[in-house]
Structures are given as C-alpha cells and as structure tokens.
C-alpha cells in the first residue's frame, strides 16, 4: 500500500470530537485535511452535552479549543453544512465530490453577530435541543458554534410573490408579522410592525390597504385581512408599558411643521437616530388628519394619543397651538434648527363657489369634522345634505347622523363607480340608513328666516373623461329641482394651505403645493424638506408615513453630511401566473376570509363608539394561518434579516456549491444518532410528558439549553426532586437493538450527579442490568455517585411506566431482582437511556464501497491487528460509527485512524 505518488491529503467525514481529533493530528503532521460536516457547525454530539464523565468537566471547555484549532489550522479545509456526494478511485488516489449546501448567507461577510436572528419571524423547533427549545429560520446551531456563521433554513420556494410588501408604500414586513401572529407571538408581531410603522394601531384601523388589493391569495379565493391583523397585533399590546430603546444622542436639532402622520413618522425615525426633534402643531391637539379628520368611531382618540405618547417618550417635543407663519415665522425656526421638515398636511377646505354659500347652515366638511373632533358644540339640522363622494363626505354624513340629524343624505355629481370613498365605507354609510343621490349636484341655496332653508339641485349625466381621468359630469338642461334642507356640509376635498412658506422662498407647484425632489424629499432650499399631503395633496395615511420616513432618512444623512443615496424603492407588486394560480388552488384548500365583526347597526349610530370590534385571538390566528407564505416550512423570504444585517451578508439567491478534491485516504467519523424509543409503548415516551430521553435531560441541564440550565420538568416546570433513570431502552433487546450501546450506564450516572448538583437533595434511582463502568476511574465515579450524590442503583429492567393523573408524576413498575419483589415507584421525572445507532453510515457505506455489520456499524475485517480499518484499503473509521464507545476512546481512536491514514499517504517518504 505504498502511496509514493498518491495525494498527501485525507478526507475526514464528520466533524465530531473523533473527526476533529483525527484532522488535527494529520494536519499537525503536515498533511492536508478536508473536514466535511453536515451541520453548519462542527462539534457533533459532544457539543450537546453539558458535562462529560468521569471528570465532570464541562464538555464545551474540552471541545471549544479543539474546534477553534481545527477551524484556524492552515492545513485543514473545513466544509460545514456540506455532504459527500460521490467517491471514486482507489487508495492514495480517491476522487471525492462534495456538495456545500447554500446557507443563503455570504460566510465571508457574516460576523455571527445575531442581529438578523432577532428580527426573523419564522420559529422552528431547535434540533440542537432535541426540539425542546426554539430557533429561528436564520440560526446558528449553538452559541459556541464554529464557524460562527449564520445559516438560513430555506426549504422551499415561497408560494406567493409577497406582492403585499411591494404594494405597501412603507414596505412593512407583512409576511413577517402575519407569520408571527399565526405562531401566536403577538408582542413580537407588534414590534416587527413598529420597526417600520410608528402608528400601527391607527394605520391598522384607517389604512386603505393597497397591500390587500395586491395580495396574491386574492387570485385564489380572498385576499388576506392584512390591515385588520395589523390592528389585532397593536390591540394585544399596552403601548404605554412598552419600554423605549436607549439611544445615543447626537447634538443635531430638527424642527417639523405639522404633527400629522408624515410629521410623526419623520420625528420617530429622527429621534431613534439620536437627533433632537421639535414639532410645531397649529391645532390644539397633535395627530393632524388622524386626530381631526377621522371621526372617533373609526379611530378612537385614546389609541392615537397613546401612540403619539410613545413617540414623545423617544424625546420628541410637540408644541401645539403654534401656527407657523402666524405665531412663529418659518425664518426663525430655520435659524435655530439644523434642518426643517414641512408636513403641514392639507387642511384647507374647497369652496362650492355658488350662490347662498355663506348662509349659516352651510359648513365646509373639513371644518365640520375638525370642530366635532376637537369637542366643540356643533348643531346639525333635522334634514342634512352632504355634498361630495370621498371618505370625508361619508365621515361627515355618519357624524351628522350621530349628532342627531334625522334625515341625512349624500349628494354626489358622478355615479357609484366613480366614488373615491372605499367600498367598505360606502356600504357602511348606506347600512346606517344614509342614502346617496348620484348624478346630482347643488346649484343654489335659498335662505329662510335668515338661515338656510332650501337648496336647488340639477341632474347630471357623464361625458368624456376630464383631467383626473374620470368622466366629466354635465348638467342636464331643465332637470333643476329644489328640496328643503337645514344643513349642508360641503365635503369636496382638501387643499394644502401653503401661504406661510411662500415668502420663505420654497418653490410651489401650480396647484400651490410644495415642490420636492421625489427621491429625497428635499425642497429647493438647503436643509428644508417636505412631505405628506402638503406635497402630494390629500392622500392616504400610509403614503404620508412613507414620505415622512423617506424625509427622515434624507435629513439624517444631510445632518451627518453624507450624500443622500436613495434606498432602492423596491419592485412593482407581481401577480401569480395562470399555472401558479392553478397549482396553488390544488395545494391550498380554498378558505373564506375571516370577517371583522361590527357593533350592531342600531347600537352604533347612537354614539361615537368604535364601530368594528377587531379580531378575537382565535379569529386572528385562523385568518393569519391563511397566508400562503406562512404555510411553508422554514424561511419565507420576508427579507427582514437582509434589512437588519449591517454586513449585508444575506444572499437569497446563493446556489449550492459542488467541489471536487483528490485525497489519498478517507476517515469516516460521523458519530451517532439516537434511537426513537416511542415504539417501546410500555414506557410511554411521547404520551407521558414527564418521560424524557437522556439527551433531552442533558439539554434541560445545559446552560445553553432551552431552560438555560434550570432543571425543570416538561409538564409543569417544577423542579424534579425524584428522578428514575431506565437503562437499556432499545438496547440489549432482540425486538429493537440487540447490542449494548456502551456509554449509557456512565451517562445516566453523570446525569444523576448533575441533577444533585443543580438541586442538592435530589434522589436519583438508576434501573440497570449490568452496570458497565469499565473505563479509567469509572468505578470510583459510580461509588461517589452512591455516597455523595444520593444515587441508588436497582438491578432491574422496569416493565412499564404509568402516570398518576393528578400530578402527572410517572410511576415506574419494576421487579427488584435482588429481592424478587414487584414494586412501583412514583417519581417526578423518568429519563429513558435510549439506544444509539451509527449516523449516516448506510448511505456513506454505499458511496465509499465499504461493508457494514448487521447493526450498521463499520465492518472491520481484521478486528484485532487492524482495528480501525474498513473492508476497503485506504478507508478508515473511528468514533461511534465504528463501534459504540465513549469520548476518551473516540479521541484515542481518532488519533489511531490518523496514524493509519498517515501510513497510507506518507508511503515511506
């Protein structure tokens, strides 16, 4: 077997303690080593252990230095999250194909900082904790993982195009928060929304939800109730108790005109960046249109106040009742603030410009709503007519009804399909008994004893589309008619009042709105920015928030003197193709959308209580579970991690890598798997909560485990003071594994000692047949367990484990074979020491062309004189995959395999 011309390199499969030891020895001898490990980190089974027998030193303290040495050794190429695909050739000249699964993270950039993990909404069972703990879709297997790189667990393509996130002007992570709600993590869902949208509770009630229109589920049955779910998440949180993140202050000061959604959003983001923000609000109350434009029954003031209160807690000062341009000049503000953001909104009403407009009883819509919302006394006549077809008109009508007007009607000059108000609002107003007269518009108002008495209207027909793209209404000759009316509310629309900026030199558009660079929000004056309705004219809340955030981003960069690069705007919402729709219909059963329940109509019109009741927990979860993206296992590509990663290491499109290497020898060290003990139904694993396996117990005691080292039993979290360990569960058993797994006797003893160390006084009983403590200082270890750690050994293999229904205590039935008494013992916790099997040996054996024995361990032809050789020259085995053995013997055999491999590749050199 002289490898004169062979490759001076070795492939080691399996990065557990045995594989690492073999690699280190060969590398220290100067040979090239390729170490391939299936999990994203090396460390293997030992990493899951808290302590190791017989010295009880912590497993990680032994393992960590070797993992670091292996990872930083110049002669070792580490391939984690990788598998061997194919092996060909003969000893000293093997050709090996390795597949590196794509971790969807650029490991050269990733520093393992963990910021991505915090934001990830997908929660999965943590394999490292045997499913007891939880991990996210983007994860590292365990805290001391080597290499400390994150991996995205992406198992299948997202079944929808996430059109909702592209459609949302603020690009809220809709996928993320709906998934969190489906998983019951409402607090986390709120936090995720709050990261992009500072006013979740308000937006969750009034947003026009462009996302729902774009929702791909809509192409199958009904779109997701994205807005209602946002409201649900916000309602689960007591905003006043939310703790505010500590922020490092900068010395920059920013002034904002207008405390509407745009102003508030900008203030929130700038405060979080550490700037000192002051908002000037003309009205006595802050909140802009949200506060004065939208009635209480749609957005309760109390909720808005709390949300604004949170922003104030960030250090934002709001000065109300200060009208810029009147009480204070824009000049002066610009003087003592480093930057200025104008978000005054569009509070000006439109005039009817018709005869009798000034008669008392004719009120402008915005002013009417503002008065009501600010609590002023507003009189409404018996017969009230509202002119206009937008949301404002509907709000005025429903508000008038609630103020006592008996007959309220809406007069709109075009037809139903052209009405700007949303379909929901229109339906709601008609439900409340308010008719809509289409194709009608008032022409004149007639006084009656000094105030409005009658109004003359004319019928309209629709002509060619006008500038707004909607058909132009043309009065029909001679169709005039008059009706009696006490109050008329003109809700024709809003316009921004931009007088106060004129003399400041800010350039205005023809229609009197502020002109800005659409990308950055900057006006023509340096350091002055603008956004929201004052720029676009009346738009929706979410558009204003998006504008505020864009401006805040630009202002922050401006204050730091950095160039204002534009955040990429994101793509247009995509539709599912025909075949994709068909496929989804097959995969996902059609399911109706869960409707929000409203207050009964009779009740709700009596006062200003909130109309819609919001989801109950069950309804929310049911609705959230309809989301297509949320139903796949693993990563749903919501891009939250990419957003948070400062090293921008996330690479969703990263492909698997295929590498070919040439090696002289191969060492198999894939370690062990744990035998599933549920078929042993008599022990009740999986049925009785407080029956756990030995490895699960180990995780419960480990400091990095799911309970952070606090030993608590699964059913009620109580501390187990009496524990029973049952040996040979699945081992030495013809019906399962006929061999002895070698390490369980000592493993159980160690765990009993650990239990005592965690809670002195704990009484452990170990049921054994032959106490196989054969290694160095093992017998003394067992004696110490008996004398100092209150451990009793009973020679018996229990027949069954029953459960005491009152307290969930497992009851072990056994015959104490030394006294021939059949007894039962009630304990707090039963630990099954399960059999262990060789890991991955079947597939690898076929690939490597080596034989396995009847149980799947590596077959060793010449057991005594060549104990680590396989049936094929040049291929060796060590660790548990070779034969059941503990850590000291695995480490020794790792070095042994290294020596044999060295023989092959050194070849007498």
């Amino acid at each position: 077997m002289n490898g004169q011309n062979g490759h001076k390199s070795v492939l080691v499969i399996g990065g557990g303690i045995a594989g690492i030891q073999a690699s280190l020895d060969l590398a220290n001898m100067g040979f090239k080593v390729y170490l391939v490990e299936k999990s994203p980190s090396i460390g293997g089974r030992m990493a899951q252990l808290d302590k190791t027998f017989p010295t009880n030193d912590c497993a990680m303290c032994i393992l960590a230095p070797r993992m670091i040495e292996a990872n930083s050794h110049s002669n070792i190429d580490l391939y984690t999250y990788s598998e061997v695909e194919d092996v060909s050739g003969e000893v000293s000249d093997f050709k090996v194909k390795i597949k590196r699964n794509s971790p969807f993270v650029d490991w050269s950039k990733c520093t393992g900082c963990g910021l991505c993990e915090e934001g990830c909404p997908v929660i999965l069972p943590k394999e490292f904790d045997q499913g007891l703990g939880k991990r996210k879709a983007i994860f590292i297997p365990f805290p001391q993982a080597v290499p400390k790189k994150y991996t995205v667990d992406k198992r299948e393509e997202r079944p929808c195009k996430a059109a909702c996130m592209d459609a949302c002007p603020a690009h809220t992570n809709v996928l993320g928060y709906i998934k969190l709600i489906a998983e019951g993590e409402f607090q986390e869902a709120y936090k995720l929304i709050r990261d992009t949208n500072p006013l979740p509770a308000s937006v969750g009630r009034v947003c026009y939800a462009p996302c729902e229109e774009a929702c791909n589920r809509g192409q199958i049955d009904e779109p997701m109730a994205i807005r209602d779910l946002k409201r649900f998440a916000a309602d689960q949180v007591n905003i006043e108790e939310l703790e505010v993140p500590t922020v490092t202050k900068t010395d920059k000061k920013v002034a904002i005109v207008g405390s509407g959604p745009a102003g508030l959003a900008a203030a929130n983001d700038l405060a979080l960046k550490g700037h000192d923000v002051t908002i000037f609000e003309a009205l006595p109350e802050s909140g802009g249109m949200l506060r004065v434009g939208i009635p209480e029954y749609r957005l309760p003031k109390e909720i808005l106040r709390k949300e604004i209160g949170y922003i104030q807690k960030l250090g934002v000062e709001i000065r109300t009742g200060v009208q810029v341009g009147k009480d204070i000049a824009l000049e002066e503000i610009r003087g003592n603030y480093d930057a200025l953001f104008i978000a005054a909104g569009a509070h000006g009403g439109m005039r009817l410009r018709m005869e009798g407009e000034e008669l008392p009883g004719v009120i402008e819509g915005i002013r009417f709503l503002r008065a009501v919302n600010l609590g002023e006394k507003v009189e409404v006549g018996k017969k009230t007519a509202v002119i206009g077809g937008g949301n404002t008109a509907v709000d005025c009508a429903r508000t008038a009804k609630r103020l006592g007007a008996e007959e309220v009607k809406i007069v709109y000059r075009r037809s139903r399909s052209e009405m700007p108000a949303s379909a929901e609002e229109t339906a709601a107003v008609e439900e409340e008994g308010i008719p809509i007269e289409f194709l009608t518009t008032p022409t004149r108002f007639f006084p009656g004893n000094g105030k409005l008495a009658r109004m003359e209207c004319v019928k309209m027909k629709l002509g060619e589309p006008d500038a707004s793209g909607r058909p132009r209404p043309i009065p029909i000759e001679g169709s005039e008619f008059t009706t009696s009316v006490d109050t008329v509310i003109a809700a024709l629309g809003q316009a921004p009042e931009t007088e106060f900026v004129k003399e400041f030199g800010v350039s205005l558009s023809k229609r009197g709105m502020i002109e800005i660079d659409p990308e950055t929000g900057a006006t023509n004056i340096e350091g002055v920015f603008a956004g929201g309705d004052v720029v676009t004219g009346p738009a929706f809340v979410i558009d204003a928030i998006a504008a505020g955030k864009r401006a805040a981003h630009s202002i922050d960069r401006h204050l730091k003197g950095e160039p204002i690069e534009v955040k990429e705007e994101g793509k247009e919402p995509e539709k599912l193709s025909e075949e994709e729709v068909e496929d989804r219909k097959k995969r996902f059963p059609s399911q109706k959308r869960v409707r929000l329940r409203d207050e009964p109509i009779g009740e709700r019109i009596k006062d200003f209580r909130e109309v819609s009741l919001g989801y109950t927990v069950e309804e929310a979860i049911e609705e959230a579970s309809r989301c297509l993206a949320g139903q796949i296992e693993g990563c749903i590509e919501c891009h939250e991690c990419a957003k948070r990663c400062e090293a921008n290491a996330i690479a969703y499109t990263m492909q698997d890598e295929h590498i070919e290497i040439d090696v002289g020898a191969i060492i198999l060290a894939t370690g062990l798997d744990l035998y599933d003990v549920s078929p042993l139904t008599e022990y009740g694993y999986g049925k009785i909560k407080n029956v756990v396996t030995a490895i699960e117990f180990e995780r419960l005691t480990a400091a990095s485990g799911p309970t952070f080292g606090e030993l608590k039993r699964p059913s009620d979290g109580k501390i187990p003071h009496a524990i029973a360990f049952i040996q040979c569960v699945g081992s030495r058993d013809f019906k399962h594994k006929a061999y002895c797994s070698s390490v369980c006797c000592m493993h159980a003893t160690k765990e009993a000692i650990l239990a005592y160390e965690h809670h002195p006084g704990t009484k452990s009983t170990i049921f054994y047949m032959d106490l196989r403590a054969v290694g160095k200082r093992f017998q003394e270890y067992v004696t110490r367990a008996k004398e100092e750690y209150n451990v009793t050994y009973i020679r018996s293999r229990p027949g069954r484990v029953a459960v005491n229904p009152e307290n969930q205590n497992p009851i072990v039935w056994y015959e104490d074979t030394t006294t021939t008494e059949t007894k039962n013992m009630e304990v707090d916790l039963v630990v099954l020491c399960q059999a262990m099997t060789p890991r991955g040996s079947k597939e690898l054996a076929e690939m490597l062309g080596i034989e396995l024995n009847e149980y799947g361990f590596v077959e060793v032809p010449d057991k005594l004189s060549h104990p680590v050789d396989s049936t094929r020259p040049g291929i060796f085995a060590c660790g548990y995959v070779h034969s059941p053995r503990d850590i000291p013997d695995s480490v020794t055999q790792g070095s042994g395999a290294a020596a044999r491999a060295a023989e092959v590749i050194a070849g007498g050199s």
Partner: protein
Amino acid sequence: MAEFEPQIIAFTCNWCTYAAADLAGTSRIHYPANVRIVRVMCSGMVNPMYVFKAFESGADGVIVAGCNYTDCHYIDGPVKCDAMFARLKKMVHVLGLEEERLRREMISTSEGVIFARVVEEMVEQLKKLGPSPFKIKMETLA
C-alpha cells in the same frame, strides 16, 4: 470584630501541587478561601526571600508545596527545597514564629483531597494562634 480570617500564601509547583489544587476543583472539594496560590515552576525554585516577603507583607501562614521526591519533573527539586526549608525553619524559629505558621508539604497531582485538608487544617490552627506576630508589629510600628 469579625472572626479572625488568617491569610495564607501557598507556593505550589506547577507540575504537581498546582495540578492537585486543580483536581480539588474538578472534584468540587470544598476548602476555606483563605489561601492564595503563587505558581512556581518547581518547589526548588522557592527562595527564602519569597517566604520572608510573605510574612513581612502580612501573611499569617505560608505553605511551600511541591512534588514527592520521585515525581519531580526536574528530577531532584524536592531535595533542594528540603535543604532550603530546613535552614528557613531554623531562622524563623529564632525569630519566634510559631511552628504551625510555616509548612512544607509534598502533594502529588492526584492528591487534590490532601491539598484541601492541609489548607483546612492550617486555617484551623492559625485561627487558634491568631494573627501573625509580624503583622501586629507592623501595625504598631507603622
């Protein structure tokens, strides 16, 4: 005044007694926290000057501990240490220091228990003897 807590300095050789102290740790053997260990490569390296410095600075007790004659990593370290210690004992006696304040021990790697017992025993004795005479003098002189 709080119960007198004697302060002990222990010069331990790196190969045996230091390892014994570690073994006491890994086997979780408790002993009083009055001892502070100064690691030296070999008990033969302990210079009388170190011991005097310890007493001078206020130590109530000093232990010089190393390997057994046969275990020494440097062949005959303990022999040298014995010679040095014999002379040191005489000097300190003349100074009127109680016998129990200076101990010579041979503790090998696997004798974690013995290390703990020696410390325990010395703390008991020193509690009876009270603070080191050198210490009291120092305060009155200073």
